[in-house]
C-alpha cells in the first residue's frame, strides 16, 4: 500500500501518477518544492531552470480566486520573469 503524505506547503494536493505518467517533487531555483505530474512538466521546469530570465516558478496556489483545483494538471504555471519573455 502506498504511503499518503501531505502536499507541500501552499499546494492544493500531492500529485499522483495518472495512468503511466511519472510524478516528481523537485526543488526549484527559488528553493521551493514544486510538483510535476508528468515528464513533460519536469521538462518545463528544466527550461525554467536553464533560463536566466526566469527568477522563480512554483506550484498551484491553494485557491485561485475561489476556484480550487483550477490548474490541477498544470502545476507550474506561475512563473516570475525579469523580462516579459517566456522561455517557450
Amino acid at each position: 500500500m502506498a504511503l499518503k503524505r501531505k502536499p507541500p506547503a501552499g499546494t492544493i494536493r500531492r500529485v499522483a501518477p495518472i495512468s503511466n505518467h511519472l510524478r516528481y517533487a523537485i526543488t526549484s531555483k527559488a528553493h521551493e518544492t514544486v510538483q510535476c505530474e508528468s515528464f513533460q512538466g519536469r521538462t518545463l521546469t528544466l527550461l525554467f531552470d536553464r533560463d536566466a530570465t526566469v527568477q522563480e516558478y512554483r506550484a498551484s496556489p491553494n485557491a485561485l480566486l475561489g476556484l480550487t483545483l483550477l490548474d490541477i494538471h498544470t502545476p507550474m504555471d506561475q512563473i516570475s520573469l525579469s523580462t516579459g519573455r517566456l522561455p517557450r
Binding site: F39, T43, A52, H73, L86
Partner: protein
C-alpha cells in the same frame, strides 16, 4: 499543460477561459503548454544530462576566460580538441575542463545543438558535439 488532442474539450476550454480572466485581473498571462511547444525527446535527454552541471561548483573562471578567447562568435568548433587544448594550456585535468564547459552550456554562455543529436554517449561528450560562443560572451 495538456495534449493538443484534448484542447477541443469543452471543459478544458472553459477552464482555460476562466484562468485567462483570473490571470488578466492579476496582471499576469496564462499559457497552456502542449507537446508541440515543449522540447522533443532528444532535447529532453540532453537537458536531463546537462542538469547535473547546473551547480556553480563546476564553474571555472580560467576556462571561461580561455573559451572567450578561443571561440569565435557563431563559429562552431569541435568540443574534444577544444577541451584538450584548454586542458593543456591551463594545466587542468580534462574532467575539470569538461565539467566547466558543460556548466557554460547549461547556463547558455556557450551554445550547442541540443535538438539534433545526443550530447552524451556512454556518459561522455560525443565526438561530434560542437560549441560556439553565445550572446553573454560576446557582450562581455
Amino acid at each position: 499543460m495538456t495534449l493538443t488532442s484534448r484542447l477541443q474539450r469543452t471543459s478544458l476550454q472553459e477552464r482555460e477561459k476562466a484562468a485567462r480572466q483570473i490571470c488578466g485581473l492579476r496582471g499576469s498571462r496564462y499559457f497552456v503548454h502542449t507537446e508541440a511547444t515543449l522540447p522533443g525527446a532528444t532535447e529532453e535527454a540532453n537537458l536531463l544530462a546537462l542538469y547535473r552541471y547546473r551547480p556553480s561548483i563546476y564553474a571555472n573562471a580560467e576556462v571561461r576566460a580561455a573559451i572567450g578567447q578561443s571561440l569565435k562568435a557563431d563559429e562552431p568548433e569541435a568540443v574534444h580538441p577544444l577541451i584538450a587544448e584548454l586542458a593543456l594550456a591551463l594545466s587542468l585535468p580534462v574532467p575539470t575542463v569538461t565539467s566547466a564547459l558543460c556548466t557554460l552550456i547549461w547556463h547558455c554562455v556557450i551554445h550547442t545543438d541540443m535538438t539534433s543529436h545526443l550530447l552524451f554517449v556512454n556518459a561522455a561528450l560525443a565526438p561530434y558535439v560542437q560549441v560556439w560562443r553565445g550572446m553573454k560572451e560576446r557582450q562581455a
